[in-house]
């Protein structure tokens, strides 16, 4: 490169994607923000008068419950992913390279199947005449309702999101040298005490990023709750979808969407702050 006239290389490297984001994300986003401040009109989509009504409405019981349910299901999903994902992450982090590669392949394979097909699979298993209930009936037990309720939604979400929990935790455990475990044992710690005092504290950054990913993905989920849940116990994503495409109340849908985005962003900053706080001791040098 001609050193005398250094070109702003970064502009070429980041430019294409920056343009993409500008026109396909930021512009529509600004548009949504604008809708959310206008008055709803059943005939014209929105009226030019500015208003905060769309946000005020979110404090109605119906919407408070909607968001509470969304956040609660997100929390349950995240907790379930931690419980199922952490042991898996530890196993993969300490596995031999071949086993690790195979395990990672199996872990992310469900992500390669389209959401609709995967959920159809769950319907076959959990349905009224599905695998689980047929087994229960064969054993002489009452069939149970496993589909079209909150349990089904959580099962569906956990199924997709476990890999997003496992990968960051695994990465942070891999950074803990195995001989720290041996050192702890040599000093008198059995496996469980070693785990609580060494592995768990050192994997907190990975745990936080995993929770952050799964939580923000769960609270904005749409396909899974729409196909495996029911309309009464809906999540925010379904509500927004209905208001956009069924009732055509775009101002209301926009305010809901922005609220969801703000919740997610607030959460991210909170978690980033917590991670930095947790890793400050480690990186202090």
């Amino acid at each position: 490169m001609d050193g005398a006239r250094a070109r702003p290389i970064w502009a070429f490297l980041t430019g294409p994607y920056a343009l993409f984001l500008l026109f396909l994300l930021l512009v529509p986003f600004a548009n949504v923000a604008m809708y959310s401040l206008h008055t709803y009109s059943p005939t014209k989509v929105f009226l030019p008068e500015l208003t905060f009504d769309n946000y005020r409405k979110i404090f109605d019981l119906y919407y408070v419950r909607l968001f509470a349910r969304t956040l609660r299901l997100g929390l349950i999903t995240t907790a379930a992913c931690v419980v199922l994902g952490y042991p898996l992450a530890y196993f993969l982090a300490r596995a031999r390279p071949r086993v690790q590669a195979l395990g990672l392949f199996l872990l992310v394979m469900p992500l390669m199947v389209s959401a609709v097909i995967r959920i159809f699979g769950w319907i076959v298993i959990l349905g009224r005449k599905g695998l689980v209930n047929q087994t229960l009936v064969a054993l002489g037990l009452e069939p149970v309702k496993l589909l079209y309720n909150e349990t089904a939604v959580v099962i569906g979400l956990v199924n997709i999101f476990v890999p997003f929990m496992v990968l960051p935790i695994m990465a942070s455990i891999e950074r803990v040298p195995p001989n720290l475990e041996e050192a702890a044992q040599n000093l008198g710690a059995n496996w469980y005490r070693m785990f609580w005092r060494v592995i768990l504290p050192l994997s907190v950054p990975g745990l936080i990023s995993g929770c952050l990913l799964v939580y923000s993905l769960s609270i904005s989920a749409f396909v899974t709750p729409a196909l495996m849940g029911n309309a009464r116990e809906r999540m925010a994503g379904q509500q927004i979808y209905d208001e956009v495409l069924v009732s055509f109340n775009w101002p209301s849908a926009s305010s809901l969407a922005l609220t969801l985005v703000l919740l997610t962003v607030a959460l991210m900053f909170g978690a980033l702050f917590a991670t930095r706080h947790a890793s400050r001791r480690e990186t202090a040098r």
Binding site: N186, L187, G188, V198, R285
Partner: protein, 365 residues
């Protein structure tokens, strides 16, 4: 009185695969002794250490600590301290918390913990550092924290896995002396694993030299250096000249051998076991025992005198390393002190070398 046996390793065998195995290895470590396992990488020294610590299960054999079986206990109930090569300090804990780790597991009181941690940090000269994190310490300081962390639990035995190999040269010498002084002062039975023969010689009461999963020789540093039991030990410890030779006759002054190149030498160094006439042997000659003299001297009784030519001189400051071609065609390495007499030496110069018959040791081949 013979010191009592602290640790007894009997026929330790570790089978990794049908082709790869370590052992059988047997040795005893006496109370208060500094015992080294020395050998090249892959010789089984670290495996032996890990078996004693409990991180590897034995395939066969037994390990006893004060007569009690150790090998069936889990690693956290063995009472043997281990200092790791990379120290393995807990990065999220301060120096104090690292050292207190084992004491807290033993559920001791707060004041007792503070007391014992304080004392041991004083001992390793880290008294002011207790609030630091490992990342804020130098390599030598981390090393001392690792030692303190094991020492504070007052284990029966302290074990060290190449603890100095990550330090730079000067610090290594310093830590070596500190470690030796600490061990002497506390009288703590210690097992030290290293591939560095200088470290082993400088630190140990006794050394076990390992090769290919077997013990080649166990002895004090001087025994190992001066009376190596095998060609492997002779070549691994220090540097050496090894000449392949055949025994010709036994005379009053020693054994006469002829090297493969045809050089006749009289050897009176203590041989390694019984040697038969006309046996094939290796003649061991340490480079510092090759004396270079002016030509045309006469051999005194008990000396071998050979004319030679300097091939190469390597200048090392304190010492000079010479490469010499003998008239017979044998090549010898010599190490001489740098002195006024040596200043003029250069390649191609003819010299005469003198070798004391007592400095030539015969080894089985």
């Amino acid at each position: 009185m013979r010191p009592s046996i602290e640790l007894e390793v009997r026929e330790l065998t570790k089978q990794y695969s049908p082709q790869v195995s370590v052992g059988p290895i047997s040795f005893e470590v006496h109370e208060g002794e500094f015992f080294s396992l020395l050998g090249p990488s892959g010789c089984g020294k670290t495996t032996t250490l890990r078996c004693i610590a409990g991180f590897e299960a034995l395939s066969e054999g037994s390990i006893r600590l004060h007569g009690e079986r150790l090998d069936d206990r889990p690693p956290h109930r063995r009472d043997v301290g281990l200092v790791f090569q990379n120290y393995a300090l807990f990065p999220h804990l301060t120096v104090f918390d690292n050292v207190a780790f084992g004491l807290r597991l033993r559920r001791l009181g707060k004041t007792e913990i503070a007391d014992r941690v304080g004392r041991v940090l004083q001992l390793v000269d880290l008294a002011g550092m207790s609030a630091r994190l490992p990342a804020q310490l130098s390599g030598g300081q981390q090393q001392r924290v690792a030692i303190a962390r094991s020492l504070v639990l007052e284990p029966r035995i302290m074990m060290f896995d190449e603890p100095l190999s990550n330090l730079d040269f000067k610090l290594r010498i310093q830590m070596r002396e500190d470690l030796r002084n600490l061990q002497r002062r506390l009288g703590k039975t210690s097992i030290y694993v290293t591939h560095d023969q200088t470290e082993a010689l400088a630190l140990s009461d006794r050394i076990a030299v390992l090769s290919h999963g077997r013990i080649e020789q166990i002895g004090t540093p001087s025994e190992i250096y001066e009376r190596p039991a095998s060609a492997f030990v002779a070549e691994f410890i220090g540097s050496s000249n090894m000449l392949r030779a055949r025994i010709v006759e036994q005379v009053a002054g020693g054994t006469i051998v002829i090297t493969e190149a045809g050089l006749r030498l009289c050897c009176s160094g203590e041989p390694n076991g019984k040697l038969n006439d006309s046996a094939d042997v290796s003649v061991l000659l340490r480079p510092e025992c090759v004396h270079v003299a002016a030509p045309d001297g006469t051999a005194m009784p008990g000396q071998n005198r050979v004319s030679a030519r300097i091939v190469d001189v390597t200048y090392l400051g304190e010492d000079l390393h010479l490469s010499l071609d003998l008239a017979s065609g044998d090549r010898l390495r010599a190490s001489v002190k740098n002195a006024t007499a040596t200043r003029g030496w250069a390649a191609a110069q003819p010299v005469e070398i003198v070798i004391e018959a007592a400095d030539l040791r015969l080894l089985h081949r």
